[in-house]
Each structure stands twice: as structure tokens, then as C-alpha cells.
Symmetry: C2
Subunit: 132 residues, 2 copies
DNA sequence: TAACACTATGTAATAATATAACATTTTTAA
DNA sequence: TTAAAAATGTTATATTATTACATAGTGTTA
């Protein structure tokens, strides 16, 4: 059973915005969009983002400094994330492939070291952009 | 045969600094360190970094906004990078594992999409930190 | 070698991303 | 019911990165 996280007011506002966005959102774009809801300062946004990342409700796309909602119902894999990024239209999707996640979670480097967390970003052209 | 890249003056200065550093360097720390060599502005650093990344002499560690020299003599894999990052001491190593790179380069997602580039960052504790 | 394209440089200003520090309030759990 | 933990509010500032514009060097090729 997964731990239930009751989001606080700011966390809820910010999660809802990210969750309904079709594309990753940047912190200051989030800030701009929630100012009418009384969130006025960058730090309020970053604190909510930090928490949401920590509990796995959202992920940060490191190469884009942007945030997307977790696409996996269970949200169990915040320590094992993989994304597909279109270099043309910037569409980002979370990859949910059990073979891949198994392979990476069990990966052992040449020195025998194991890892408790990874983030993988794939780049290419999405179908739409490829056919143009 | 690999294309020969003759580094320009600024590129050489900045590459040499990164190459002899035991840890990833951040852009403004690089700037600070090369000011005695006549590089005075952030943009001069970022331009050199961009070029060095483009030709594969260095890589950006996205989760750290920092840069390390490519550890692979051939520098062929700037489009297929994997790193090990210690969450305690922040030591970063490039992972050069042909099985892993083959697996990821050939990875096909559930929709059949292939990728021409990826970046993977593993997190954990390095040997030294684990034994503490 | 003149003309051209291309790459790199220099400089100032500013945009975009993120955190520090401090005071207060709300929520949770013992 | 109170003490600890989490969240909020606010100001200021630190850090990371780019825009815009002017100039200089390098390599090709006509």
C-alpha cells in the first residue's frame, strides 16, 4: 500500500496546473499562472515543486528545467524515470516500460556499483515531426 | 575516421581547465578560473562550452548544471551518455559500458519510436561514501 | 589574392532559474 | 493541548543562461 499524501493548498494548486498541462511547465510560467490564486513569489512555487517531486506526483525534466505530472497511476517510480523528448516540437512523454526499468534498476557498473535512482532522457523526433 | 576539431583559443583554455578537474565544473566557476587568461564574460564561457559539448569533448551533467570532460578516448558517444553520480560526495563518473549503450541505443518504445540520442544519470553512493 | 562564408571573439545588458534568511501559521500526532 | 513538523508569506539575492550588436580571425574558392 502506498502512502497517501494530502496535498496542501499551494501544492494542490500547482499540481492541478501541471497535471492538466499537455506540456512540461517551467517554474516561472507556473508562477505567472497561479498569481491570481494568491501565490506571489518564486519560492512558494519552488517549495511546492520540491515537495511534489519528492512524493513522485511530478517529475523534473532536467534538460528542460520543466515539470510534468507523473503518468504512472501508481507513482511508484519517481526514483526510476525515463522520458521521450521530441527535439522539434518539445513534446515530452514519460516512458513506462517494465523491461527498461528492470534493466536499469538492476544495472551494475563495471566496478560492481548499484544505484538506487536514475533518470533517463531520450531525444529524437516524435511521429508527427518525423512525418513532416 | 573521426573529424579533427582544432579548438580555438577560448575553447582550448576552457577545455584544459575542465579536463584536468577531478570534478564537474560549473560555468561561473570556470569563468572565475579563466579570468586571468582574459576571458571576462559569461557568454565567452557559454559559447566555448556549447561548442565543446557539440563536438563531444565535454558533457553536461544536467542534474548538476556542470560540465566534465569526455572520458572515452574516442569521444564518439556524445549522443549516448551515462553517468554515475554520488549523492553524498557528488563524485561523477562517466559510465562506459557497451552492453548498456547498445541496449539504450537500440531501445524502442511501445509505440515503436527510436531515438538518436539519450542521457542517463544514475544516483547512489560511491564506494567511499557507502563505507562511511 | 580578393571576395565570401563561416567561425570565433568582445562587451554590455538583461532574462531566466533558483535559493537564503527570517517571521508566522497550520497541521499532525503524541 | 501542546509540542514537533510541515507549510506559508515576504524580501532580497544568488546562480545560470541568453539577446543584441559590433568586430576580428580562418578557411575556401574563384
Amino acid at each position: 500500500m502506498e502512502k497517501q499524501h494530502n496535498l496542501s493548498k499551494n501544492q494542490k494548486i500547482i499540481f492541478d496546473l501541471i497535471d492538466k498541462s499537455p506540456e512540461p511547465l517551467k517554474a516561472y510560467s507556473i508562477l505567472f499562472n497561479v498569481q491570481k490564486k494568491g501565490i506571489n513569489a518564486p519560492l512558494q512555487v519552488y517549495r511546492a515543486l520540491d515537495k511534489l517531486v519528492e512524493i513522485g506526483k511530478i517529475h523534473k525534466i532536467e534538460s528542460r528545467n520543466a515539470f510534468i505530472a507523473c503518468q504512472n497511476s501508481s507513482c511508484q517510480i519517481s526514483k526510476a524515470t525515463a522520458f521521450s523528448i521530441c527535439e522539434s516540437c518539445e513534446k515530452v512523454s514519460e516512458i513506462n516500460n517494465s523491461k527498461l526499468s528492470k534493466y536499469l534498476s538492476n544495472f551494475e557498473d563495471d566496478s560492481g556499483m548499484r544505484y538506487n535512482k536514475y533518470n533517463l532522457e531520450f531525444f529524437g523526433l516524435c511521429k508527427k515531426c518525423k512525418s513532416k
